[in-house]
């Protein structure tokens, strides 16, 4: 309704505090969501970029890649299970990496793989690595020789890959032998023999049911636990807790946004009840007046979202690269829809009051 927008424009000042508060809540929501997404992306990339649907752990490792060991005979048993088309070995060593031209150690996850990792080319020659692009912010350049682990094993960076980090450590993708050397040097107690991996990723034959294949693998070996990629991601340390904590804070923030809108429009409606009575007496329907309220609610929300979004983008540039903040279009969409729903529900709180305003109140009789 045009009347509603005209009020918004002419009485701008009274809408500013609420719009401002809502904009700040949008900033908070984008930052919280961005942190959650950043933490999630930075923790799980190495697993999410795997091509294969299933991953096998040693049962005693309780779904931790670093604790798990898969011996060659176990791997052979897995490959013999019907529905398994092939396997690829995988292992991780968490190390500090000495970056040329800097004094700092960059946190790195050296990953030994045999292929079948989307976005990462075939394993390079020994002593060479594909590096995750996030390491660029730590001063790494293509062609650099990084020195990893306590014995400073040299690894030459030959190119970038994206979204492959593990527990916030920058991914360095190497062939299995190089990984075994790094693991043995950095954690001698955890050293593994030739052909031993921490995990085996399982390529399920087309048409086979992954759940059945997983159960069949564990039955055949007797010593393994096979889960899906999605389950492995959720089994990473802290991921579930992170999700639960952030989801709760974000939920409460949406609630606060709804309350801010509800309170503002409730007070506004209370204050202009006499005027609304006059408009009803002049022939405004309750539907028109409710429509006006909703128009204003939506307008305030849109302005707050745009303002908050611009502020959040500005902050994103100021925040140092070690803070894992990633604002994705999906997250922005989620915040937009969430704030919109909260505001509409908040605005709707005043609906009943508007409907119940008696047109007779305009002329001095009635209630």
């Amino acid at each position: 309704m045009r009347l509603a927008l005209r009020e918004l424009r002419r009485s701008r000042r009274r809408f500013v505090p609420t719009t401002g508060a809502l904009a700040l809540l949008v900033v908070l929501l984008l930052m919280l969501g961005g942190l959650l997404d950043g933490l999630y992306i930075g923790s799980t990339g190495a697993l999410r970029s795997q091509d294969d649907e299933l991953v096998t752990f040693d049962r005693s490792a309780r779904e931790s890649t670093l604790r798990s060991r898969i011996e060659p005979d176990t791997r052979a048993a897995i490959e013999a299970v019907p529905g398994v088309r092939g396997t690829s070995g995988f292992g991780i060593a968490l190390v500090g990496a000495d970056v040329p031209r800097t004094d700092e150690l960059a946190d790195a996850a050296v990953m030994g793989y045999e292929g079948r990792v989307g976005g990462v080319p075939a394993p390079p020659a020994p002593g060479r690595a594909w590096a995750d692009r996030s390491l660029e912010a730590r001063g790494v350049r293509v062609g650099d020789v990084l020195r990893v682990g306590p014995t400073r094993i040299p690894l030459r960076v030959i190119g970038w890959v994206d979204d492959t980090n593990y527990l916030q450590q920058g991914g360095l993708w190497v062939e299995p032998g190089t990984w075994r050397t790094v693991l043995a040097e950095s954690r001698p107690g955890a050293a593994v023999g030739d052909d031993v991996f921490q995990n085996v990723w399982v390529d399920v034959a087309p048409g086979a049911d992954p759940a059945r294949v997983a159960a069949a693998i564990d039955a055949a070996t007797g010593t393994t636990r096979t889960i899906t990629r999605a389950e492995a991601v959720l089994a990473l340390p802290g991921i579930r807790e992170q999700n639960a904590t952030f989801t709760q804070i974000i939920g409460v923030t949406f609630l606060v946004a709804g309350l801010v809108v509800a309170l503002f429009f409730a007070l506004l409606t209370l204050e202009r009840t006499p005027m609304l009575g006059v408009l009803k007496a002049l022939g405004a329907s309750s539907r028109q007046l409710v429509g006006a309220l909703m128009t204003q609610t939506v307008a305030v929300t849109v302005i707050a979202f745009v303002t908050g979004g611009v502020i959040a983008l500005g902050l994103d540039r100021l925040i140092p690269p070690e803070v894992p903040l990633v604002v994705t279009p999906d997250r922005a969409g989620f915040v937009a829809v969430g704030v919109f729903v909260a505001a509409v529900i908040g605005g709707a709180v005043s609906l009943r009051r508007i409907i119940r305003i008696d047109p007779a109140s305009a002329i001095g009789t009635g209630t």
Binding site: R2, L282, A284, I363, G364
Partner: protein, 224 residues
């Protein structure tokens, strides 16, 4: 067709165990070009009668016909449309929309009706403001107008949709006598020029010489 017919109209308000009779078996007919002054002491039922005639209040008993509309049988929704199209109100307290200019306040009813195209509505509003001596104040907000000017804007608002019946509730009480006289003369002039019916409520008998006919009301009972 008469502008207003009241047949045995009763309005009571519950008050504890008993009831207050605000209007008692009122019978009244207002021809379509008559200006009727309704006078009576405070609490006698003037506003109640006006509210019932304008479809703001529903009668407890009796029958109300406004310009052929049997509004006693109307739903709340029908009454809203009826008020928008058929009656013009001037309220006791001027209640203009604070964030709209004088011209926009006059046009507010047209805007609610969603009928007249913007351009025609604007021309008509400007003509009304001109007649009311407010042409130079068209762009001003209510806060920038004097009491008398606001009252005149309210008159323009009541006339905007060319209603068949104009209901004016004690417009002069907030103004001093000279100003009150001017406003009253203005209303009468405008109503006469349009050959519309009007009921003008007042408790000031000096105002009645503006009217074609005067009806007195005491304790909810009409006396011709």
């Amino acid at each position: 067709m008469p502008a207003l017919v009241l047949q045995n109209v009763r309005k009571t308000y519950p008050s504890g165990d008993s009831e207050i009779v605000a209007l008692d078996r009122a019978n009244l007919e207002v021809p379509d070009d008559q200006i009727l002054a309704l006078v009576g002491p405070s609490g006698s039922g003037k506003t109640t009668l006006l509210s019932i005639a304008g479809g703001l209040l529903s009668a407890t008993e009796g029958h109300v016909v406004v310009g052929g509309h049997h509004i006693t049988e109307y739903s709340a929704k029908q009454l809203t449309a009826f008020r928008r199209a058929e009656v013009g109100f001037v309220f006791q307290t001027v209640n203009l929309v604070p964030f709209l200019t004088a011209r926009e306040n006059v046009m507010v009813a047209a805007e609610l009706a969603g009928g007249a195209p913007e351009k025609a509505a604007r021309a008509r509003a400007d003509q009304l403001l001109e007649e009311l001596g407010l042409a130079h104040r068209a762009e001003n907000l209510p806060a920038q107008l004097s009491g008398g000017e606001r009252q005149r804007v309210a008159i323009g608002r009541a006339l905007m949709n060319e209603p068949k019946l104009i209901l004016v509730d004690e417009p002069t009480s907030a103004l001093d006598t000279t100003l009150g006289n001017q406003v009253m003369a203005l209303i009468v002039g405008e109503v006469k020029a349009r050959r519309t019916a009007a009921i003008i409520v007042t408790h000031d008998t000096r105002m009645t010489h503006y009217a074609d006919r005067t009806v007195e009301i005491t304790d909810g009972i009409l006396a011709a």
